[in-house]
């Protein structure tokens, strides 16, 4: 086939083995507004945009040398006026024994626009995915924070629960606990007949004591009595400050007689307390659970016993 390759509708470049241009056809010169002399003796990347030159050297040439061919590579030449010409480039090794490469370039300005739009679309999609991922991370972070807040809330609730069941002055359980515990123990007693006893204790002459020494001293006495009562108690026992100078002790699995012994012991201990403000004494009433008891039944018996102890001269234990 005899043909004039100078004017085929494609650019043609011949390179020697050291990547130097040895021939170029007129078509490529015309496209780029350059003369053949502008090409000959130079490396092709010197006629490309800087990015394309890098890409040519970094990818195309090594691949061409390694594999003897490259196909459908997109890159850009620079024309004389500094405008870019996007082309598709394919190249192969020259037939042996020649050492070099033949390079064909086809403009793809129009195709390129499509490509660029596709690439842009893909980037947009990638950014959207990244944004989604970021949003997901945010949701995860929020979920985590929510979980943390729940934990904090649970902690606060338990603190609140403690506050709600604690007597602020003495640190002992308050009356709410008495109400709960007495119900529980009555229920247990009804079901399993496990005996339990209730001791009500009241500080003698507390009002006078308060009037004489002031409330701070009264509070001090209440604390000391609370500490003394709680000393030596079993884990299962419940000590409560009922209000004012009145305390209650619920002793599970304890008979009336045993409870009276406990009450007597506590009475002795309080009497021996060496308070800075003189001797403090305690009157105590003891009752044990009986069949059919309601909580006011057992409380009433203990309270009547306490009244009896008071009326018989205080600083003593009565039971019923």
């Amino acid at each position: 086939m005899k043909h004039d390759v100078d004017h085929i509708p494609g650019g043609l470049i011949l390179l020697d083995g050291s990547n130097t241009i040895t021939a170029v056809n007129q078509t490529l010169c015309d496209w780029l507004g350059l003369s053949k002399q502008d090409f000959l003796g130079h490396a092709p990347e010197t006629r490309m945009t800087r990015a394309s030159g890098m890409y040519y050297l970094g990818h195309v040439l090594p691949s061409l040398r390694l594999h003897g061919r490259v196909e459908e590579v997109l890159l850009s030449f620079s024309n004389a006026a500094g405008k870019d010409l996007s082309v598709m480039l394919s190249a192969t090794s020259c037939p042996k024994p020649e050492d070099g490469f033949q390079v064909l370039v086809i403009p793809m300005q129009r195709r390129n626009l499509v490509e660029e739009q596709l690439q842009q679309a893909r980037k947009t999609a990638e950014q959207a995915v990244a944004a989604k991922e970021e949003a997901l991370q945010e949701v995860r972070a929020m979920a985590h924070e929510l979980e943390e807040r729940h934990k904090e809330l649970a902690r606060l609730n338990s603190q609140l629960e403690q506050l709600a069941t604690q007597d602020a002055l003495t640190g002992l359980n308050n009356r709410r606990v008495y109400e709960r515990e007495i119900e529980i123990h009555l229920a247990l007693f009804r079901r399993s007949k496990l005996p339990f006893a209730l001791i009500l204790a009241d500080i003698d002459w507390f009002k006078q004591f308060n009037d004489r020494f002031g409330h701070d001293t009264g509070d001090q006495v209440l604390k000391e009595v609370g500490q003394c009562l709680s000393a030596g108690m079993r884990d299962v026992d419940t000590l409560v400050r009922m209000g004012g100078e009145e305390f209650a002790l619920i002793l599970p699995n304890t008979t009336l007689e045993d409870a009276a012994l406990v009450a007597e012991r506590k009475r002795g201990e309080i009497e021996k307390l060496n308070s800075r403000h003189g001797t403090v004494t305690l009157s105590l009433g003891v009752a044990a659970a009986r069949n059919g008891d309601t909580k006011s039944d057992i409380y009433g018996r203990a309270d009547r016993s306490l009244y009896k102890a008071k009326s018989q001269g205080r600083n003593q234990v009565c039971m019923s």
Partner: protein
Amino acid sequence: MPRNQLAKQHHVRQLGPPPEATERPTLVLAHGFGCDQHIWAPVADMLAEEHPVVLFDHMGCGRSDMTAYDPKRYTNLFAYAEDLANLVKELELDRPILVGHSVSGAIGWLASIGAPDLFRQVIAIGPSPRYINDPPDYIGGFEEQDIHEMLDLMERNHFEWAGYLAPIVMAAEDRPEKSEDLRQTFLNADPVVSRRFAESIFMSDIREYLHQVTVPSLILYSDQDVIVPIEVIEYLHRTIPNCDIRKLQATGHYPHMSNPEAVADAILEGLRIEA
């Protein structure tokens, strides 16, 4: 770590006399961006006539073990420098000479800072500490925009090779050179990995580390290097403490391909052979 694990991961090949059988120093040839150890073929053969030669692929390139490629790790040149140092240690090479093309020159220097006795010499072919201009005092040859354009080009040209098309193309066409080797190279040309490598190279700036380079260095450079302008070579020459430069009788950024004899001769002449 099992013996030779890194050697396997980096597809190490050793040419020439065994290191223990000769007094001559071992040459470790490190390829640059966009290629793999094959790029050294003619030069390596010439050097291996007298010297032990070690060839390897950077992680993520050529036939390196892709399963060992950690995308989180290979985001800057220090990871590659660490690899190189570990590889030299694993191979138990006695202070070899590193011959690094392009980015591998920088990688070699970074590795030498962490371990000054690792190499007895670094020979860098067309290296650059920073590719992007930093006006007014530094000319790297490129604007950041150029780098982004090139990354876009890579993406557009490699997109279709992303995994699935390469084997189809290879199977559909009956080519004499269709070897498992070539197929592997294509399969390994993961565009995401290549792009990350390109980014870690062309966005790199190791200028601040150069004054710590104490290993004797020789820079080989050539005319018409589009990637590395002469200003970069001059900058390296006056910044690295113990550094000679030498112009090759070759042109372009790949003198070891375009003129392997000149490169092999320059390497042999530039070797510092110590007693």
